[in-house]
């Protein structure tokens, strides 16, 4: 088992596109690590550069402390599962799983034993003689995983592992994948464009944009404290409210920002008064106040309520600005109702209006 160290890595395509642009990253031994970003952000290129399928233009890649930047993919000790699984259509499941061993000229008996053992671990018993075309999508995915595991690489790379499954199967496979990674304890890097998938699976997430790292952190950090408005926009199943605001005079620890005709409490220690900022607040962290509110709050009128299952997304018109807030099911105010919205200061994030970077050294919310 091994860690991955990436320093100053850049991958430039022949057409001059810098798909990966000067990246530093450390993946710890045994970690389940997600590369997350919109399509074209360079996450897949980064994964392929770690695998050696794309040559690095600058920088180094180390796996288990050994520099593999110029090493052939087959000699890096990596195992990879491709987005389309790349199961060889002319080989049956058993031959597919043991192909990495066949390449290394491992004896037939050992190969058969490995195939049976690995198939057992991934509940593929009884399918060993089938061709890939005779398997369901979920089974194909497990064969691809089995093949990667059988190759006994030091690190496991997964390219969009769940994207080829239909929605219902995807949840099941997600659970299966997380448990498998825990059991094997193998360093795993996976690529995804689905923020929910990254939040659910990964120990740590690297959010990328245009070949650059925009935030690196645990799912909780990335969700609760996006480092910039790009990440804030990208993470979360309901979009974060990003509203123009102005910092009010700070009075002690907790100050306030004027926003959308009202104000919200915010930790403004290091932000000068009257600074123009972008205020970020997740709909989940806003609450519809019942009764009188004395502190900073937003006042508005409900425009529309959308049912999301166990909760509803309510859009509130606050002095011409639309603000989203989630409420538990069956408590939605009907459109036209006047409401008051409040939020805890620790959940109100301030971003630089121009650069979009997170301002203020606000204390990290206590991870409970």
């Amino acid at each position: 088992m091994a860690g991955i160290d990436i320093e100053g890595l850049a991958t430039v395509y022949p057409n001059g596109v810098r798909a990966v642009d000067g990246l530093d990253l450390h993946v710890a031994d045994g970690e389940f690590f997600a590369l997350l970003g919109p399509s074209g952000c360079g996450k897949t290129t980064l994964l392929r550069t770690i695998a050696g399928l794309e040559p690095a233009t600058e920088g180094t890649v180390r796996i288990d402390a050994a520099d593999v930047t110029r090493t052939e993919p087959g000699k890096r000790g990596v195992a990879m599962v491709f987005q389309d699984y790349a199961l060889f259509p002319h080989m049956n499941v058993s031959e597919n799983i043991t192909y990495p061993l066949k390449v290394r000229r491992v004896a037939m008996a050992t190969r058969t034993a490995t195939a049976e053992r690995t198939a057992g671990e991934l509940s593929l018993q009884g399918l060993l003689e089938r061709k890939p075309a005779q398997l369901s999508g979920g089974q194909q995915q497990r064969v691809a995983l089995a093949r990667a595991i059988a190759s006994q690489g030091k690190v496991l790379l997964l390219d969009e592992p769940l994207s080829n499954l239909d929605a219902r199967l995807r949840l099941e496979a997600r659970t299966f994948l997380k448990k498998l990674q825990r059991d094997l304890g193998i360093t795993t890097v996976f690529v995804t464009h689905d923020q929910a998938e990254a939040l659910a699976l990964a120990d740590r997430i690297a959010v990328m944009e245009s070949g650059k790292l925009r935030q690196l952190g645990s799912p909780r950090e990335v969700f609760a404290r996006p480092a910039n408005t790009f990440v804030a926009n990208f993470i979360g199943s309901t979009p974060m409210n990003l509203l123009p605001g102005t910092v009010a005079a700070a009075t002690g620890e907790v100050g306030a920002v004027s926003v959308a005709g009202g104000s919200l409490p915010a930790t403004t220690v290091s932000v000068p008064a009257d600074a123009e900022v972008t205020v970020g607040i997740r709909p989940e962290y806003l609450t519809v106040a019942s009764g009188d509110v004395t502190g900073p709050a937003l006042r508005g009128v409900v425009v529309v309520a959308e049912n999301l299952g166990t909760q509803s997304l309510v859009t509130v018109d606050c002095d011409g600005t639309l603000v989203g807030v989630t409420v538990p099911e069956e408590t939605e105010p009907s459109p036209g109702t006047a409401v008051v919205l409040t939020a805890p200061a620790s959940r109100v994030l301030l971003y630089d209006r121009d650069s979009g970077e997170l301002l203020a050294r606000q204390p990290t919310p206590v991870a409970s």
Binding site: G8, A10, T60, D67, R70, T71
Partner: protein, 308 residues
Amino acid sequence: MASPSAPVEGVAPARGRGPARDVAGLGVGRAFGFVAPAFLLIGAFLIFPALWTIYIGITNYRLTGVEAVSPSVVGLSNYTKALNDALFHNALWLTLVFVLGSAIIGQNILGFTLAWIMRRTRPAVRRTVEAFVLLAWILPSTVVAYLWVAFYDRDGGTLNSLLGTQGTAWLIDYPMACLVVFNTWRGTAFSMMLYSSALQAVPPSQLESARMFGASGWQTLRDVVFPHIRGHVLTNTLLISLWTANDFSPFLLTKGGPNHESETVPVYIYNVALQGGELGYSSAISFLLLIANLLVSLVYLRLLRRRS
């Protein structure tokens, strides 16, 4: 933008070009090795002959005689000869008739008609008709030629028995008409298949809305179908014209006779080169054919590019 980081203490910096860029690790060197045999053969048996026609075309090279041993360069005299050669003009005219009659009109129209009426016929009928049309296309050319020689025969030929015109020597009396009918029969399959797949690309919703507006069959064809397949019509016409102009099968039916009445350019080239032995002159004519082919192909490739 980060520069390559300095090598870490104790870990030697990696050297070399790194893994090959392509998926199988072939590398550019071996890739050239893979491509080389094919291109050597193509170069030797396709490109070189094509270029060599230019040289032979300006000599008085002959199959036999003094000029066979030591041909001399005669400049453009072969081309000036072609300008005044009545038989060459005749061959050009006949090729034009052949292409216009059998390809541009015959194969095009029959192929489209077949594709159009076969859209909604029963599968059994469709398969039977298509089988015959395709068979005419895939049978070896000598077999096909012999079938038609028998069909047109003066004494026992099927055509004469069908029409009750015993004793009419079709291939001698009407050689070009015979060739046009023959080549229409031979090549329609291609146009039929091309138009079939083109017609499948016409959105059914548009055909249905045309029907709902009460458009007649002809109006539907003109206003809905044709705008969709215009590119295909052009592509098809260019290709079948090219092939027909270069088709050697007229030789198998008539050998250009009687008295040059069916001597299209390919047959004329053969007769001049191997019957007459005038290799230099026939090369000059071959070169003109190559240029014509090139022009048509360039137009065709332009069309392909614009569509893709």
